[in-house]
């Protein structure tokens, strides 16, 4: 079951400067899709296009249904400076129409998992970057949507945080959620993703599972890292 179908003929931040070209992929229920590319390749731009935030887009983004909800976990933590952690969660739950009786236990469970339960009445803007990143993850997982759009989740996370994030991702997948994730951490992506979309200079250079990527890059035993480097060089 396709949670989202992405068909982008071209797209960018200005009419003249079209960053994306001929992007086409889907995210299915239960999939963890790794969107991989060098700095400036257009990964975040693709995510913005999916969320309807890209000013210029020629193409179509089709969700499974009108009621498909997604959670966006940005690369840089975005917080409101005058609200406590608990209040941010309560706000997200209210907007996501989570029953107040369900919200409390779920929020506490996530806070304990990420070891932020003692910080719940503090202002997240005073947290370290890693802790703020955890807050963004908690906000995303609180809503339990059918689609997760995650931008560089591993940046700033400690090893426990990475483990907890992966645990939640797997639980989400078991519940039928799909995850689209951008990352530079190719070793981790190779271990956890079910399929990959490799992009460079706004175009897809290869997509599919690891076997298909290896076939395209002509490296039968290559790691994702080696395949990616080879494909970028081939494109040049």
């Amino acid at each position: 079951m396709d949670l989202v179908q992405v068909e982008i003929e071209s797209g960018g931040y200005s009419q003249k400067d079209q960053i994306l070209k001929d992007i086409s992929f889907t995210v299915k229920a239960g999939e963890l899709v790794g969107l991989i590319g060098p700095n400036g390749a257009g990964k975040s731009t693709i995510l913005k296009a999916i969320m309807g935030q890209l000013p210029f887009l020629k193409g179509n983004i089709q969700f499974q249904s009108q009621d498909t909800h997604y959670a966006y976990i940005p690369e840089q933590p975005v917080l409101y400076d005058n609200l406590t952690l608990w209040e941010l969660l309560e706000f997200a739950a209210a907007v996501g129409k989570i029953n107040p009786g369900v919200f409390g236990p779920r929020a506490l469970e996530l806070l304990e998992l990420f070891r932020l339960d003692k910080e719940k009445h503090k202002l997240p803007v005073t947290f370290s970057k890693g802790m703020q990143q955890k807050v963004m993850l908690i906000l995303g997982f609180l809503l339990r949507p059918s689609l997760y759009i995650v931008d560089e989740p591993f940046l700033g996370l400690d090893p426990h945080g990475v483990r907890d994030f992966l645990q939640l991702i797997n639980e989400g997948r078991k519940d039928g959620a799909g995850i689209l994730m951008t990352t530079h951490s190719l070793d981790t992506a190779e271990k956890i993703c079910t399929s990959f979309i490799l992009i460079n200079e706004g175009r897809i250079i290869s997509q599919g599972n690891l076997e298909e990527i290896r076939k395209t890059s002509q490296l039968p035993d290559g790691s994702l890292f080696d395949c990616f480097i080879k494909l970028v060089e081939m494109q040049r």
């Binding site: 409101y80 609200l83 941010l88 209210a94 907007v95 009445h121 202002l123 005073t126």
Partner: protein, 404 residues
């Protein structure tokens, strides 16, 4: 940047440009032509009238209570050091440059407070010189004292900020506020017996010199100076920037818990989406002390304005204040609802509109009541007291319309 003089001058010019651009965004030629210029003309005409025929406020306000205005004026300023967030990269190592910026900021603070005090003296002249017949030399000495107290207070508040946080900072100000209040009351008492002014001026001058020396030798103040500079810079601009749909970066924060609702306490018992949206908006507003200050400052100025205009205009302009307050509070609502965090979420339009209406209504109601009481007190048309709840009802409707 070759030297500290050029750096400070560049910072100052950049700040003037920024404040001017913010005002420029809001006061376009339409606002200038239809509101600002006629408002200025009306003010000058009213000011001239104060000299010829004192308004009712002058009879109502005894000279001895003028100290309230002086205390409010003196305690409303704070020294701003012209540092920026990027200075963290360099000024930690080059402390002499930081010290130079502090010294120049103090000099600028003194000069700008001198200009502000002259403006206050200009406004107070009809009351003191015209109505109460004080001598010009006593008048000049009084405002010299006021100028010195204001500069000293701004330095003291800055120094206290470096020692204390939150409620401790508020408590620490009380003894100084009490002392300055006593000084200003004494200064008013001396209007008809001005000889001791010279001694008072010398003492205050010595205190000022000591404080300047103390402040310029304080160490490890860069981070706090940056926080205070950002807060001061955005105090007025933040609200006006929202009007033009731009989001202004918030200053870096040092306090871990909010000073209000410290344990995420609830305002509303009912936990519907629009109630929670309203609650978070209210908390975001109330926890920002500069928001509260600006709000009450707007009410105070409007109240003062109501108190000096003829009685026949007071109730009419009180009704106008409902729309003025709604427009002002709407800016705070936009600040909240358009913030990058809230923009991450897809909020139901109906809930957003309901929450906006409630937010605006809850915040304008105290202002409507306060200004209504001012109009009642100064017009002395007690039978019109029933208009206050009517005004609150009008405020509710206005808030709903503004939120759409």
């Amino acid at each position: 940047m070759k030297n500290i003089h050029l750096l400070f001058w560049q910072r100052l010019r950049s700040n003037w440009k920024f404040q001017y651009s913010v005002i420029n965004m809001v006061i376009d030629w339409v606002v200038a032509l239809y509101i600002v210029i006629p408002g200025l003309a009306l003010f000058l005409h009213t000011y001239r009238g104060w000299w010829l025929e004192p308004p009712s406020l002058f009879y109502f306000l005894p000279l001895e209570s003028f100290w309230l205005i002086l205390v409010f004026y003196c305690w409303s300023g704070i020294l701003r050091v012209y540092v920026e967030e990027g200075d963290q990269l360099f000024l930690y190592q080059y402390t002499s440059w930081h010290r130079g910026l502090v010294i120049y900021s103090i000099i600028y603070n003194i000069l700008s407070n001198l200009i502000l005090t002259v403006i206050l003296a200009f406004l107070a002249a009809p009351f003191l010189l015209g109505f109460h017949g004080t001598s010009i030399s006593a008048f000049q000495w009084l405002f010299l004292i006021v100028f010195l107290v204001r500069v000293i207070a701004s330095l003291i508040r800055q120094c206290l900020h470096h020692r204390f946080e939150g409620w401790r900072y508020i408590l620490a100000q009380i003894p100084f506020l009490a002392v300055f209040t006593r000084i200003l009351v004494l200064a008013l008492d001396l209007l008809y017996n001005p000889e001791p002014y010279i001694l008072l001026t010398i003492v205050l001058g010595a205190v000022l010199i000591f404080l300047i020396f103390y402040r310029t030798t304080l160490k490890r103040t860069l981070l706090k100076d940056i926080y205070l500079a950002q807060t001061d810079k955005m105090k007025f601009a933040n609200v006006l920037l929202m009007y033009s749909g731009n989001y202004a970066k918030k200053p870096i924060r040092l306090r871990k818990r909010p000073w209000l609702f410290g344990k995420s306490g609830k305002i509303f018992k009912t936990r519907t989406p629009e109630k929670i949206l309203t609650e978070m908006g209210l908390k975001a507003f109330l926890r920002h002390r500069s928001n509260l200050f600006l709000y009450f400052q707007a009410i105070s100025i409007y109240g003062l304005f109501l108190s000096v205009i003829p009685a026949r205009w007071q109730w009419i302009l009180w009704v106008v204040s409902i729309f003025f307050l709604s427009s002002l509070v709407k800016l705070y609502w936009l600040d909240w609802i358009k913030s990058p965090f809230v923009s991450l979420f897809n909020i139901d339009k109906d809930n957003k509109a309901k929450a906006g209406g409630q937010f605006i209504f809850y915040l304008i109601t105290p202002g409507i009541i306060i200004l209504g009481l001012v109009a009642l007190l100064f017009s002395q048309q007690w039978f019109l007291g029933f208009l206050i709840p009517v005004g609150v009802y009008i405020g509710k409707g206005t808030a709903k319309k503004m939120a759409i």
